[in-house]
Symmetry: C2
Subunit: 319 residues, 2 copies
């Protein structure tokens, strides 16, 4: 038995730190291809972008903080409504209502889910109760798109736009955010306009791509995903908790721009429109790590890591 080696090189972030050789031009030069860690080590400051505080939510749970990046390019109405709700401290003291294994963790107002709640649902204040659907949007020239080369079961094209995984249909001229692990969406009822962003869910299992174009994805979890994924599963239908005492209270949700600068985190995400990102994708299509005996040379859109880091010179207290 080789100690520490079983599956040891299967990590998302591998730790081999030898000098990065030239990128592979193709299968012939695979032996000199860098690992993802080598690609990241060789990245430049310009390969990263800071999270925009106006698009960044901090959701504080008893166990830790979940950081969500909103995507106003794909869901502008939802982003604005969610900002308004956060500004009003709408979610403070509300709860995680549902954890369905292999599917989603969902949070919101328990009273809104009950037929005869003990107290009325929390008022929405200046936020809207319904929003026009934002399940897809038009492809426009200003929207960045880094296409993946390996195709997709569900969409004619897949790739990345501003750091988010997306699908595209050149025929209809539409594009949409796809449901990968960590995607955050706005729960809705049976009508298209019934999800105003008050009740949100995050994907905690295999990408439920059947939801694509059926519901508004509003962003993704960039940090703290484990606090949504490791929760006890709900024991009622669809993972709802039968006993409200099993729900987890949300301590608070804040928009970063509503906090003083000294209380904001300084996170950066890897840009997806750079040669560095293309090298990262290549490092995952053909793994250079010694552990991999067979290199498949393909990748699914939901298997491409989207790295996040603390800004190197932040010098600020982190949570």
């Amino acid at each position: 038995m080789t100690s520490r080696s079983l599956l040891a090189t299967l990590a998302i972030l591998c730790t081999i730190a030898t000098a990065a050789p030239a990128l592979a031009a193709g299968p012939a030069s695979l032996k000199s291809a860098p690992t993802m860690q080598q690609v990241l080590d060789a990245s430049k400051p310009s390969d990263w972008r800071p999270l925009n505080p106006n698009d960044t939510l901090y959701m504080d749970l008893p166990e830790g903080r979940v950081v969500i990046e909103l995507d106003p390019a794909y869901a502008p109405l939802h982003a604005q409504n969610i900002r308004t709700l956060a500004h009003q401290h709408y979610w403070d003291g509300l709860a995680i209502l549902r954890v369905q294994d292999g599917f989603v963790t969902q949070w919101g107002d328990p009273a809104a889910e009950e037929d005869h709640p003990a107290q009325p649902p929390r008022p929405l204040g200046k936020a809207k109760a319904t929003l026009a659907p934002e399940f897809e949007r038009a492809i426009t020239p200003d929207l960045p798109f880094t296409k993946l080369p390996d195709g997709d079961v569900y969409a004619p094209e897949v790739g990345f736009s501003n750091g988010f995984p997306v699908g595209r249909d050149p025929k209809s001229g539409k594009t949409w955010l796809v449901h990968c692990y960590g995607a955050v969406g706005a729960g809705r009822g049976n009508t298209a306009d019934s999800g105003p962003g008050t009740e949100l869910y995050a994907v905690i299992g295999q990408a439920p791509r059947q939801l694509d174009r059926n519901i508004a994805v509003i962003g993704r979890v960039v940090k703290g995903m484990q606090y949504l994924a490791d929760r006890p599963r709900g024991n009622g239908p669809m993972g709802f908790y039968k006993n409200p005492a099993h729900q987890t209270k949300i301590l608070r949700v804040r928009l970063a721009s509503d906090l003083p600068p000294s209380e904001r985190m300084h996170l950066e995400v890897l840009r997806t429109d750079t040669p560095t990102f293309k090298a990262l994708v290549e490092s995952r299509r053909n793994r250079a790590d010694a552990w991999y005996l067979y290199k498949v040379g393909k990748i699914d859109v939901c298997n491409v890591p989207l790295p996040v880091r603390e800004a190197p010179s932040a010098g600020t207290k982190h949570h």
Copy 2:
């Protein structure tokens, strides 16, 4: 806000129980297509097969039981070694060593993972310390295969064989078990023969299909997946627990056939070589539920549910 309706129809097992109409012949008749629940409600006893006790592992954790079905058609040497290990009570008192968010939960002997363990690794007894790789096998006429129609990013063909998701390459004549949510594999070191089944892992996130053909998948979790997926993530590299006190002790692992019949569970899995299974796949390619406004008409091999139930007439104590 419509109570209970947000994302309410996204459940794996939907509960609509109207009479099942005829199967959809194509997009034109989608409105009369049955839901998955309707397909299951209309299933016959012959659509199900009981788990073979000689291929069924019970892993008892403090929180509950995980049931794993071995697949001796694809990993016969591993199945036999794992039976031997279970027969010797090899895993009793060993531990869950690693939980990496979005990837795997892994269990085995803590001493085998340490450079200077306080006590020597547990002896393997009659089990083998190395096994020939079982990463893929030959396609043979006797091996059932229900092909999915929508293609795959990683494999030339995908489908199901005896209830397990598989990939196929008609050119090379090879087939293999694929890494979907709940797949169980035998961790190994950098050499192909170093994974004898002592240290096992289960997929708890997006299907890590890059592992396919690189490691032996030995079966899948058929029940109790939540007990592997909801665990606190490890705080060390690759999700290993830095502090051994955070590891979870395994109470016991037993092969069902090593237990007296009165202590065996009576579980059945839906056969994957029947018209009922094809109808189930179709019900997931085009969702009939009212919630779905857009029916994509496609499905990924790892999004097809593989239903498990207690045998209707079992009448035996269940755990």
